[in-house]
């Protein structure tokens, strides 16, 4: 059939469809840092197509039939793990779940040995969450299976960044030219880094907001501006992305009290009233209700927190599909 055309001959017969001529070639998704704007858009567009699969009565396509996806969670996770698990099963892949608790990690096995052993069982794609920044890169260099970074330390969480950008594009119709506030614990946040990197690539403006102890100066070279006053920026932004305070990563007291943090940086209905009318409120979850935002805001009409979760599934299906095709 006509579809037998190689991609090069297809380019020749269809030169005007530049978007379609793009072909994804990566075997891994380690972060948004190394992706081009075109690659980011390709993932978002592919995710758009996958949204339809979840609306069918049979919510399954055979794209990854016979493939094995290993979910390696060296760190706790609910949303990301379940989202990847469901994404893999919607693509007809088999999944293997590994969690650090109760595993041989407690007997002293290294991360690389653990992953190599699981790879030896015939795993095609690894989804990895690990507390160590750079762990996904290290593994990608040492195993031949595809690696998807599901959060590495304080470095990146690319699928979260992608699903946030996907949600922004869906709600506001574009990304370029928007002004996005990323608020809260920037220092410990891989979500913040992936968001900033992705948003900048697609032409959005990013302002990071938080107390000086949680906003490193080194974030500025990434191309965003820094503010320590939430009230100063709220009126100018199209998106407010409220990050979770990661108490578990604090080695010392980084702000005097949770109450004070909420008073200065918490998104309340009163503060929301000062925003643009169509502002969208995001949060990667899990929410500390009454800290980052009040329940009224989290469950209100400007919130797209649950939409983020729904979109996460489509984005992860797209990423699983793309890396499975790109690595050959």
């Amino acid at each position: 059939m006509a579809k037998k055309a190689s991609s090069s001959s297809r380019q020749k017969v269809k030169p005007k469809a530049a978007g379609q001529a793009f072909v994804w070639k990566r075997k891994d998704l380690l972060g948004l840092d190394e992706l081009s704007a075109e690659e980011v858009v390709h993932i978002l567009d592919t995710a758009e197509s996958f949204k339809e699969v979840s609306t069918r009565s049979i919510k399954k396509v055979p794209a990854l039939r016979g493939k094995v996806v290993g979910l390696l969670f060296f760190e706790d996770s609910t949303r990301t793990r379940m989202s990847f698990e469901l994404a893999a099963s919607r693509l007809s892949a088999d999944t293997l779940l590994f969690t650090a608790k109760g595993s041989s990690i407690t007997k002293g096995e290294t991360t690389l040995d653990t992953v190599r052993n699981i790879e030896a069982m015939g795993v095609d794609i690894f989804v990895i969450r690990h507390g160590q920044s750079g762990s996904s890169h290290m593994l990608a260099h040492n195993v031949s299976a595809s690696i998807i970074n599901a959060g590495d330390g304080q470095h990146e969480h690319p699928t979260q960044g992608l699903l946030d950008i996907f949600t922004i594009r869906q709600r506001l119709g574009r990304v370029a030219g928007l002004k996005v506030a990323v608020v809260g614990d920037i220092a410990h946040s891989r979500v913040a880094r992936s968001n900033i990197l992705g948003l900048k690539k697609l032409g959005a403006e990013v302002v990071v907001v938080g107390p000086p102890t949680l906003v490193p100066q080194a974030i500025e070279p990434m191309g965003c501006t820094i503010s320590h006053s939430l009230d100063d920026v709220l009126g100018q932004v199209d998106v407010v992305n409220m990050l979770r305070i990661q108490f578990e990563r604090f080695s010392s007291n980084l702000f005097p009290s949770v109450r004070e943090y909420h008073k200065l940086y918490g998104l309340t209905a009163k503060r929301l009233g000062r925003c643009k009318k169509n502002v969208i409120v995001m949060h990667p979850g899990p929410i500390n209700r009454g800290v980052e935002l009040t329940s009224e805001v989290a469950d209100g009409p400007n919130s797209c927190i649950l939409q983020q979760v729904t979109n996460g599934l489509a984005v992860r299906m797209a990423v699983l599909y793309l890396v499975s095709q790109g690595g050959k």
Binding site: M1, F22, E52, V61, Y321, Q325
Partner: protein
């Protein structure tokens, strides 16, 4: 080693494409069921365009017909998925009606190996159970690898193995015509 050569020959011009599509349409109309829902589903990209043209004509000439339309992206159902390199953009399948018990016309531009049709049948199966599925193609060029045949063909040609038949439609390619591309080693 022989030099790699590609020769492109025009098989049908725009008027002949129109004629082939007309023939296809008339053959389909003769076999339409007397009652029930008729669903016309095109396989992306050019099957979708052909399906739309058939539907437009049915709407104007058969206003009483209960008609549904849809588009199928068969990428995930292809049997060569694991052998291909790289991932071009996948687009959504659009079937937002109940397939059960419909008389379904599946439309594609070129029928060769039958593998796209096999994939399309699998994809349809995930949406429901049509009563009857018929296959309409603009060009049947021969070269089947599966036990699949077209119920309606606008034109049957005997294209040599190793050649590629390319349909161009103005909605997608800016021009109309059918071309045969010979690849000689």
């Amino acid at each position: 080693m022989a030099e790699f050569k590609r020769a492109m020959k025009k098989l049908l011009d725009s008027q002949q494409v129109q004629h082939a599509l007309d023939r296809l349409y008339k053959a389909v109309v003769q076999q339409l069921p007397k009652e029930g829902t008729v669903a016309v589903v095109g396989i992306r990209t050019r099957g979708e365009i052909l399906a739309r043209r058939i539907v437009d004509r049915l709407r104007s000439e058969r206003p009483g017909l209960h008609l549904e339309t849809g588009v199928l992206d068969i990428t995930f159902y292809r049997d060569d998925l694991s052998q291909r390199r790289g991932a071009p953009l996948v687009r959504a399948t659009e079937i937002d009606f109940d397939l059960d018990d419909t008389w379904l016309l599946l439309v594609d531009d070129v029928l060769q190996t039958g593998r796209s049709v096999r994939a399309a049948l699998d994809a349809l199966h995930d949406f429901g159970r049509p009563k009857i599925i018929r296959l309409a193609v603009l060009i049947d060029r021969g070269g089947r690898q599966l036990p699949i045949s077209a119920d309606f063909a606008g034109r049957v040609v005997n294209a040599p193995a190793g050649s590629r038949v390319q349909v161009k439609l103005k909605e997608n390619d800016g021009e109309e015509g059918v071309f045969i591309i010979k690849t000689e080693g």
